[in-house]
């Protein structure tokens, strides 16, 4: 017994479908929307996920970030505290105790983050000056573009050297080679010894300033040098008066040896801080926990997405089934004729299944194209990052085709099981 060759089945199916172009198009629309929405949603989701992961990764998954936070005071104390010294935040004692009591601590990197005018020749701009230790580079995973970072001897001798961000180098030293030049930070002279690359995203200055993400405009100086010159008191002048702040450590990065020890270390650090501070004038950011949270969120997102996708694909499948049932009953007589002329049941099943398959395959293809275009348009129109991934395409496509074939089997079988005599009598 011979079977019809596949190519002829395909031809026949295409021919039959082209009889009802509008109907075929509308049926395909269900699949198109299904596939398209799945791909688009997965791309947006994956984009958001990558963005978060990247951000967290750059903060370092082995790190614990502790920042000093100014505790807001009530009305009365604000007026009375004008021109007085505000003291808050992390202390050297905290740092000392961390080094002693936090288990599995590999390094502790203190930072002072201050806003100063930085000047080279006639050019001047205000930017963040970060006074820190040589460890900083390693902990933050910065790339040195030229020269060197701060070293142990810089710390020891309190050398007046600085490392500048790539953007600052471009703006302040336009036309000059910054290396070896001396710039002034609030009238103190520092010699540029290196240029650092991109900044970690977590440290970006607030929006509204015109610079590109990831570009580094900071100045890094040895903590020892800064302390020798200025001490812990920071004066800031603004309209209507000035404030003095005394903050020993603005930020502290604790680096833990392994990820699995981070949670324990965080607990220890929290205990120490709770003991030493009456008010909660600090905040703890644990990138590792953020990653876990992000994963959890992602999982939830995937479940929601999966359900939406499943529903839309089932709806598409039901659409196909509906149309194929209508087609089968409309073509009952044709089925009878074909059976009388020698078509086996399998031939009839194949004929209708092939039509379903072609509908869903072409619908799936078109859906993929739109599904790829929509995220691109979203990225072009907004800041939202989207990522097209192969699994998204593969899942959307195979699932939609499988669903429609499954839904196509019933009408096809119904056609094949018709009694040929009854079918021939059908008007």
């Amino acid at each position: 017994m011979t079977t019809m060759p596949l190519t002829r089945m395909v031809k026949l199916a295409v021919k039959n479908l082209s009889q009802y172009k509008l109907r075929a198009g509308l049926t395909m629309l269900g699949i198109i929307f299904g596939v398209c929405s799945v791909v688009a949603m997965l791309s947006v989701g994956e984009g958001a996920n990558r963005e978060i992961q990247e951000k967290i990764q750059r903060m370092g998954s082995n790190n614990i970030l502790i920042k000093s936070v100014k505790v807001p005071k009530d009305e009365n104390s604000i007026t009375s505290s004008r021109n007085m010294i505000a003291t808050y935040g992390l202390t050297y004692e905290d740092a000392q105790q961390f080094s002693q009591y936090v288990p599995n601590l590999e390094a502790s990197t203190p930072m002072k983050v201050l806003r100063y005018d930085v000047q080279y020749k006639a050019r001047k701009l205000q930017t963040d000056v970060i006074a820190t230790t040589p460890w900083f580079l390693r902990v933050q995973h910065y790339r040195m573009m030229r020269g060197r970072f701060l070293t142990g001897s810089d710390m020891e001798f309190g050398s007046p050297v600085c490392v500048i961000g790539s953007r600052l180098a471009r703006i302040l030293f336009a036309g000059y080679d910054p290396l070896g030049k001396t710039l002034s930070i609030d009238h103190d002279a520092y010699t540029v010894v290196g240029i650092a690359g991109d900044i970690a995203q977590g440290e970006l200055p607030p929006k509204g300033e015109l610079w590109l993400e990831g570009e580094n405009q900071n100045v890094y100086i040895p903590l020892r040098t800064y302390l020798n010159k200025r001490g812990d008191l920071f004066a800031q002048w603004s309209e209507g008066g000035g404030t003095f702040e005394k903050i020993e450590i603005h930020e502290l990065i604790l680096t833990i040896d392994k990820q699995e020890n981070v949670v324990r270390a965080v607990d220890a650090a929290r205990r120490i801080l709770r003991k030493n501070h009456k008010a909660e004038d600090y905040s703890i950011v644990v990138p590792f926990e953020l990653i876990r949270q992000a994963r959890e969120t992602r999982r939830l997102f995937n479940i929601v997405l999966g359900s939406i996708a499943a529903i839309s694909l089932i709806v598409g499948g039901i659409g196909i089934m509906n149309i194929m049932l209508a087609t089968v009953s409309e073509r009952t007589r044709e089925i009878g004729i074909r059976r009388a002329l020698g078509a086996r049941r399998a031939d009839i099943v194949m004929q209708f299944l092939m039509e379903t398959l072609i509908l869903s395959l072409s619908g799936g293809m078109i859906g993929l194209v739109f599904g790829a275009l929509i995220p691109l348009m979203i990225t072009a129109a907004t800041e939202v990052q989207t990522v097209l991934t192969f699994p998204a395409f593969a899942i959307a496509f195979t699932v939609s085709v499988t669903v429609s074939v499954v839904f196509g089997i019933y009408p096809a079988r119904r056609a094949a099981l018709m009694d040929p005599i009854e079918a021939l009598r059908h008007e």
């Binding site: 074909r338 020698g342 031939d347």
Partner: protein, 232 residues
């Protein structure tokens, strides 16, 4: 000589709800190669049932059916489909062409299910269409043809796989007298070429054309005349 068709005690019953309808009662019938047999009878006499049985569209309830010497009473659905495509040609009262296919494609349908290559199928279909006087209508759809032309397409289709048995169910029922006459001439011609033909009809005039008339009443053969021709 082995008969083309041999029914031995063939019976057919339908179950219609709780009602059992006997359509054929243990029929014995032999039709030999080259015969032109007409089956007559009132509606409900069992002649349509007989035609469906002969065409392998319906299984027997009892008895045996030998087609070309082969007992097909126990054949599976797939085997019966194969028999239909290779050995039997159907001509229907309402032509039963597939509306979305053109003349050539309609003629090719039975070859499609035999796995004959496209080129060969087209070649055979063209030859038959030309013989039926449809040479200038090859790409037309059935709706664009007259009744007579449609029936010619159906006849071409029934001939395309060179069947051993041609079954015609009132082939002139939907045609005017003149066109019907032309179709009957065509069938005579085929018979003269040696085709075995079994035709169901109400029309006495048509019956006179055949060598043999089988009359049915209530599922039984009541007469079996050779119209004066010699009984084989």
């Amino acid at each position: 000589m082995v008969p083309i068709v041999e029914l031995k005690g063939a019976s057919k019953e339908y179950v219609n709800g709780s009602l059992r309808v006997v359509a054929l009662r243990e029929i014995d019938l032999q039709i030999f190669s080259g015969e032109y047999a007409v089956i007559m009878g009132a509606s409900g006499s069992g002649k349509s049932t007989l035609l469906n049985l002969l065409g392998c569209l319906d299984p027997l309830s009892g008895g045996d059916y030998l087609l070309g010497g082969e007992n097909i009473s126990q054949f599976s659905d797939d085997q019966l489909s194969d028999i239909r495509s290779r050995r039997i040609g159907f001509i229907f009262q309402s032509y039963n062409l597939i509306p979305q296919l053109n003349v050539l494609e309609n003629i090719e349908v039975p070859l499609f299910y035999q796995g004959v290559s496209e080129a060969e199928a087209a070649e055979r279909a063209v030859v038959l269409a030309e013989r039926m006087g449809l040479a200038d209508r090859l790409k037309h759809k059935p709706m664009e043809l007259s009744g007579g032309q449609q029936q010619r397409v159906a006849i071409a289709r029934s001939l395309v796989c060179d069947p051993i048995l041609m079954l015609a169910d009132e082939p002139t029922g939907n045609l005017d007298t003149k066109t019907g006459h032309e179709i009957l001439e065509l069938i005579d011609e085929l018979n003269a070429e040696g085709k075995t033909i079994v035709m169901v009809t109400h029309d006495d005039d048509i019956a006179h054309r055949a060598q043999r008339v089988v009359c049915f009443r209530d599922g039984e053969i009541i007469s079996n005349d050779w119209n004066g021709a010699s009984k084989p």
